[in-house]
C-alpha cells in the first residue's frame, strides 16, 4: 500500500459479489479520498446498487475487503457501520412515515445519544438535557434545509422532493464522515435536482466526503471530483469528468446501452 491509498477515507479492495451464479460485482478496487465527491456511474445492471449495498452493509460481499478510516468494516452489520460514520440515503426512500418530520431527524441523531432504558424511564435531568440537545440539533438541520415550518407534520405527508431532503437531513443528523447518496436527484424536477446539487456541493465545501450513484449526468459532471465507471460489475474507467467522458470503453458501454434500448 502506498501513502495515497492509506490516506483514503474509504478503501475497497478486490470486492466481489455473486447472486445465484450471476456476477454483480467482480474484483473491484477503488478508494475515496477524504473531502472529495466521488460518483459511481454505469449503465443499468452495472453493479452500482450492489456496490452501494456492500459498502452500507445491506449486502454481504463474497470476497474482498472494505476499509473505512483504515479499519476493516466488511464484517460489521449496517448499524455499526453507521455508528462509525457512514450515513446513507436511499433510492427508494426509507422514511419513518408515521413519525413527525422532526422525529425522523431526531432518530438520525440516535447514535449520538447515550441514555439507556433505565434513564429513559426515570426521565432524569441528564436525559432531559440530552433530549433537548438532540431536538436542537435536529431543528438546526431542518432550519438549514428549509423544512423547519414542517417540523411537526407527519413525514408521510411531505412531497417527494421534501422527503429526499428530509432523508438527507436524517443522514446528516448522526454527524457522519462519509455520505453515501443513492440517486439523490432521481425523480426530482429540474429545479429541485439543481437545488440538491447545490446542497451536496455546500456540504462538500464544509468538508463532507461524498460517494454518490446518480443517473443525472449533468449533475455528476458538475459535482464530482472523481468518477468511477462500472460496466458488468467491473471498473472500466476512473478519473475526472473530462477523462471519463473521452474514455473509449465508457463511450462504448453507453452507446451499447443506447443501441439495446
Amino acid at each position: 500500500m502506498n501513502a495515497k491509498t492509506s490516506a483514503n477515507l474509504l478503501q475497497v479492495d478486490g470486492l466481489a459479489c455473486r447472486f445465484d451464479g450471476v456476477t454483480a460485482v467482480a474484483d473491484l478496487s477503488f478508494g475515496v479520498r477524504a473531502g472529495e465527491i466521488k460518483a459511481v456511474i454505469g449503465p443499468n445492471g452495472a453493479g452500482k446498487s450492489t456496490l452501494f449495498n456492500m459498502i452500507a452493509g445491506v449486502t454481504r460481499a463474497n470476497a474482498g475487503e472494505i476499509r473505512f478510516d483504515g479499519a476493516r468494516i466488511d464484517h460489521l452489520p449496517t448499524f455499526q457501520r453507521a455508528r462509525r460514520g457512514i450515513a446513507r440515503t436511499f433510492q427508494n426512500l426509507q422514511i419513518f412515515r408515521d413519525m413527525s418530520v422532526l422525529e425522523n431527524v431526531m432518530v438520525g441523531r440516535h447514535m449520538r445519544g447515550s441514555a439507556g432504558v433505565a434513564n429513559a424511564i426515570l426521565h432524569g435531568p441528564s436525559l432531559r438535557a440530552e433530549e433537548r440537545a438532540i431536538a436542537a440539533a435536529a431543528t438546526d438541520l431542518l432550519d438549514r434545509f428549509g423544512l423547519a415550518d414542517k417540523a411537526q407534520m407527519q413525514a408521510g405527508a411531505l412531497s417527494f422532493g421534501q422527503l429526499k431532503i428530509l432523508e438527507l437531513a436524517r443522514a446528516l443528523a448522526g454527524a457522519p464522515r462519509l455520505l453515501l447518496l443513492d440517486e439523490p436527484a432521481a425523480g426530482l424536477p429540474h429545479a429541485d435536482a439543481d437545488r440538491m446539487g447545490e446542497i451536496i456541493c455546500g456540504l462538500n465545501r464544509e468538508g463532507m466526503t461524498v460517494l454518490l450513484v446518480e443517473h443525472n449526468m449533468r449533475m455528476v459532471m458538475a459535482l464530482s471530483h472523481d468518477i468511477l465507471v462500472l460496466n458488468n460489475g467491473r471498473r472500466i474507467a476512473e478519473g475526472t469528468a473530462d477523462e471519463v467522458r473521452r474514455h473509449p470503453e465508457v463511450l462504448a458501454a453507453y452507446l451499447g446501452e443506447a443501441e439495446d434500448a
Partner: protein, 311 residues
Amino acid sequence: MLAIPFIAPNAYVVSLANMALINLILAASLNLLMGYGGQISLSHAGFFGLGAYASGILNVKLGVTPWLGLPAAALITAAAAWVIGLPALRLRGHYLSMATLGWNAILVVLFNQLVNLTGGPNGLLGVQPFALPGFEGFAGLKLDTEPRAFPLVWLASLLVMLAILNLLRSRIGRALRAVATNELGADAVGVDSFRTKLVVFVLSAAMAGIAGSLYVHVNQYASPETFGVATSILLIVVVAIGGSGSYWGPLLGALTYTALPQILLDYEDAELMLFGLGMLIVLIAFPGGLASVPDALVRVFSRLFASKRRP
C-alpha cells in the same frame, strides 16, 4: 379514579376497578410492544401468569413478602422473555408470534403439572395479601380487601403508565417506532434493531409480571386457565379495540374489556356473541380503535359542515 372505593356502591365494583387497572397494565405493556414496536407476542398472558405464580409461590412456599415478590416476579418474567426473545427476535416476520404461542402453551402445562408448586388445576391457595408493616402507634394493615388493595393497584398502574410515557418520549422510544415503521431506515442511522426489540420485549414482559404479582396478592389465588393462550389473544384484541399505537388506547380497551362482560351478563348465552359483534363493529368502523373515535367524528362533522356550506 382514586375516589372509586368511596363512591362505589359495593366491594364488587371496586374489585372490577382493580381488575380494570391490572388489565390496563397488561394492555399498555402489550401496546408498547405491539402498537409502537410492531411485534406481536402471543404469550402476554403467559408472562402475566409467570409473574403471578412466581410471586405467589415465593410467598406460599418460602414466606417471601409480596413487596419482594413483586420485583422478583418482574425480574423472573424479564429473564424468561430475554431467553425467548434472543432467538425469536433475530428472525423477521411472524417468528416471535410462533415462538411466544408455543411458550404460552408450555407455561400453561407447567402451571397445571407442577402440582407441588402451583397447586395444579385446583389453583394456588393461601397466597397472602400485601400488608403495610406496623410501626410505633400503627398496628400495620393487611391490604386484604378490594378497597384496601385499590390504592396500591392504582399507584402501580400509574407508575407503569408513566414509565411507558417516559420511554416513548426518549431516544429509545423513537428508535422503537422507527424500527417498527422501517427497519432498513433505522439500521441506516445506527439503530440496533434487534437490541431495541429485545429490550422492549423484555420490558413489556416484566410489566406483565408486575401485573401478575398484583393479581395474585389481591385475589390471593391463581389458577392456570386465567393465563392461557386464549387470554393472550384477548389481550391483543383489547389493544386493537382501544387503539393500537395510541397512548390512551389501552385504558379504553381495558375499561371496555372489564366492564362489557358485566353489562352483557344479562344476555347470558349471547354474551360472547355480542362481545364479538361489538369488536367487529368497532374495528371495521374505526380501524384506529376507540382512541381514534373523537378524531374520526371531528373529521366526519367538519366534512358535513363543509358540504352544507356549499350552495
